[in-house]
């Protein structure tokens, strides 16, 4: 006698590999048993057979390849059911794969893209508005402030910036409205970006409090983005975390073109501890920081107690 369970149900085969008994899973059983079947554990529907028949061999152990090949022909009759159940289980596991760190990745990328868009549109605004008052463009470097100024009255601006013998042309109302529309769009994007950043900080504090304490919300989110997921970070060595974001430099070094020296830090260069350090200190600090970040990530992933503050203090004490 042979016992075999797959995604379709539990089967009992006779000595000459004919199906003797079977229990086909319903939807609820299927989703309940999928995890156990995957881990190779005994499931509820198998227990009665294991008790009822002596000398029954569980083929899921995978020790009897010949018997497995022999029952394949019988199982072919359930291909349609196999298709349907695989579809169900896969849908359920894709749904389960949506975790908070994926949200972090989307927000973090969204903040980056908003910043890029703002830059792009601001450049256009500066060129455009400068036909009207080039003297302002020259003096205001901040994009947000510039967009705000574009909305104010031209006469006022002329006074405010003490423009004499200006190079701009007093545009018609219709023409300046088009410019102001673009300026409003840019200001709206600024507002959205700030809101997204606040949300990202909240999300990071909730999902990875330890990492946020050590690395900061923005750098932490960036590391998760480059790593792909929180889980990916957990299984990385700290030296990989140290270099996340410096892949190009690393591979250049590994291919050893022109004897390129290895990079010492990736994304974590933006951390004040590293960026404020003198050049020759940076490698050492990046290494120590990556080490603590990895510890923090592990605690976050496995939902341990909050030790972020302690880790940060240790770091600060080391390089004080």
């Amino acid at each position: 006698m042979y016992l075999y369970s797959n995604i379709v149900g539990t089967f009992v085969f006779s000595q000459n590999f004919q199906i003797r008994e079977k229990i086909l899973f319903n939807e609820k059983q299927l989703l309940e048993f999928a995890g156990k079947l995957s881990a190779g554990e005994v499931i509820e529907t198998e227990k009665p057979f294991l008790e009822k028949f002596k000398n029954i061999e569980d083929l899921r152990q995978g020790k009897n390849q010949k018997a497995l090949d022999a029952i394949a022909k019988e199982l072919l009759g359930y291909t349609q059911k196999m298709y349907e159940n695989n579809l169900l289980v896969t849908k359920a596991s894709v749904s389960l794969s949506v975790t908070d760190d994926l949200l972090i990745i989307q927000v973090s990328s969204s903040v980056d893209e908003l910043a890029k868009s703002i830059n792009l549109l601001s450049k256009r605004l500066r060129e455009w508005f400068s036909y009207s008052l080039p003297e302002v463009e020259d003096r205001i470097t901040d994009h947000k402030k510039f967009a705000e100024i574009c909305l104010s009255d031209r006469k006022q601006l002329v006074q405010e910036f003490h423009v004499q013998h200006g190079m701009g042309r007093d545009l018609q109302k219709k023409d300046s409205i088009a410019i102001q529309n673009l300026a409003r769009t840019i200001l709206e994007l600024f507002r959205q970006k700030e809101e997204a950043e606040r949300y990202l900080e909240d999300l990071m504090a909730r999902v990875c409090p330890n990492m946020t304490a050590v690395a900061g919300a923005l750098i932490g989110a960036k590391l998760i983005t480059i790593g792909g997921s929180l889980r990916n970070l957990v299984v990385m060595p700290s030296s990989t975390i140290q270099l996340l974001g410096a892949e190009k430099a690393l591979f250049k070094h590994m291919l050893n073109k022109k004897n390129v020296r290895p990079p010492k830090h990736g994304e974590i260069i933006n951390h004040p501890l590293v960026s404020s350090a003198p050049r020759e200190e940076r490698g050492r600090r990046a290494r120590a920081l990556a080490d603590k970040i990895l510890l923090a990530v592990k605690v976050d992933y496995f939902k341990g107690q909050f030790i972020g503050d302690r880790l940060r203090k240790e770091l600060e004490a080391k390089f004080a």
């Binding site: 369970s5 797959n6 995604i7 079947l37 995957s38 881990a39 190779g40 899921r60 995978g62 497995l68 090949d69 394949a72 199982l75 072919l76 291909t79 349609q80 196999m82 298709y83 695989n86 579809l87 289980v89 896969t90 849908k91 596991s93 894709v94 794969s97 949506v98 591979f251 590994m254 291919l255």
Partner: protein
Amino acid sequence: MIPFTKFENVYFTKDSRGRERFFTQNLTPGLSFFEEDLVRDGGREYRNWEPRRSKLCAGMAKGLSQTGLKRGSTVLYLGASHGYTASFVSDIVGREGVVFCLDFAPRVVRDLVFMCEKKENMAPILGDATDPKSYAYRVLPCDIVFQDVAQKQQAEIFLDNCKHFLKPGGFGILAVKSRSMDITIPPRQLYAKVKEKLEKETTIVDFKVLDPFEKDHCIFVVKKP
């Protein structure tokens, strides 16, 4: 539309300049999943299969002698991704066959599921090819194991899966991406290493380098004794 003699259910056309295009008969007439051309000929509909997007098709274009894929085959496809190649494999095996499509990235499996809902001989699996035991309960013993994963241990993963799921006498097809195994040694040397590993447990039927369709890739066809 001319059928290949060595590849069952795969067709090709040749234009006046001698350029070849590859096709399979569409199992779901009217539906094209990757914006590929649908061509009608003799009352049947065919889907255009591009060797630049599919390593299996590239292997055929480079002149593989056989793949073992037939109508009615049971196929385990590891590294199905969005399912481009897998959809053509599904056309080849037809309604009597089945393709188990495995990938471990939820994002691409999401796309795959939408396709599998329309192609009823493709079963999607979200799983990790390095751990065959975890999805053993979801597949049948297979006539063909096809693998195209960008992993360092590609050869080992392939042999492990062949051991678990391939029937004796079944074919294994392995697309090797040399750049994800080791970027520091030249691809040719790496292929030789892979060949050595495969030879220990299987018989090598054919081997083709996929240049110019895919840079630094090759394809092996092996047979399980």
